[in-house]
């Protein structure tokens, strides 16, 4: 599976467009619960735990997108984009989407 933020795969031609594929996860984030994080809120700096948490959620959203593309019979997902939107207080949705295509 080729994934890319470009609109084409260099040196290869797209033979079939299979439409948009997407994957998402919704995570609740509560900084107040975490002692280390609330300490960091005073002195500033990177919140490593949250970096990892969000990295994992994004990976999961990405994997779901790939699964959907595989189910459609694609061998590449092009023009991949990530967005984050908050659906409720303290919860946010991570979405990955792109267009599934078949390349030679």
């Amino acid at each position: 599976m080729i994934t890319s933020t470009l609109e084409n795969v260099p040196g290869r031609t797209i033979t079939q467009h299979l439409g948009i594929v997407q994957g998402s996860t919704v995570r609740a984030k509560n900084i107040g619960r975490d002692i280390a994080a609330s300490f960091k809120n005073i002195v500033g700096g990177e919140l490593k735990g949250y970096s990892e948490l969000l990295g994992e959620s994004r990976k999961e959203a990405f994997e779901r997108m790939i699964q959907q593309a595989e189910a459609k019979g694609a061998n590449a997902v092009l023009n991949v984009r990530f967005t984050t939107s908050s659906v409720a207080q303290g919860a946010s949705e991570i979405l990955a989407y792109g267009s599934a295509v078949v390349v030679e």
């Binding site: 933020t5 470009l6 900084i31 500033g44 700096g45 919140l47 970096s51 908050s86």
Partner: protein, 153 residues
């Protein structure tokens, strides 16, 4: 007794401000030093926002790479930002926070690309979201994601 309790609360805020100012400044300076050092090290890896590869590139392998970071602002800076929000205008204290976060995310993406043996990164995008619009609805920390396509010759 009530007077004492109030005095204690004021003292606590002052203490947090001093702690935030001191450690926040220290952390920021250390972070900027590390950012500058790594930016020098990754100088040969070209990062661009253009969507198409030049003709001369041929047909290299491409891979999606990304880097993200969550950075929290310190108590002092948040306090200053709150004051600024009363009058409006530039919030300098958040500007440096976002600058650090963006550059750090970019560097992490570059590190991933470098590990793959990439020479260039195309169509780089940034994505910013704020975390913990907590009890006081203030921006506590931001997450920045940088992603793009690594071109491996």
């Amino acid at each position: 007794m009530e007077y004492l309790a109030e005095l204690w609360q004021i003292l606590l805020v002052v203490l947090l401000l001093v702690l935030g100012y001191g450690f926040g400044r220290l952390a920021e300076r250390r972070h900027y030093r590390s950012i500058l050092r790594r930016e020098d090290a990754f100088g040969d890896l070209i990062v661009v926002c253009s969507k198409t590869l030049p003709e001369s590139a041929g047909a290299p392998a491409t891979r999606l790479v990304m880097g993200s970071v969550v950075i929290s602002v310190d108590y002092f800076k948040r306090f200053v930002a709150h004051l600024r929000m009363l009058f409006g205008g530039r919030v300098h204290t958040y500007e440096s926070l976002l600058d650090r976060a963006r550059r750090e995310a970019l560097l992490r993406m570059q590190a991933e690309a470098k590990a793959l043996g990439a020479a260039m990164i195309f169509n780089t995008r940034f994505e910013t979201s704020s975390i913990s619009k907590g009890q006081d609805k203030s921006v506590g920390s931001v997450e920045v994601l940088a992603y793009g396509t690594a071109v491996i010759p």
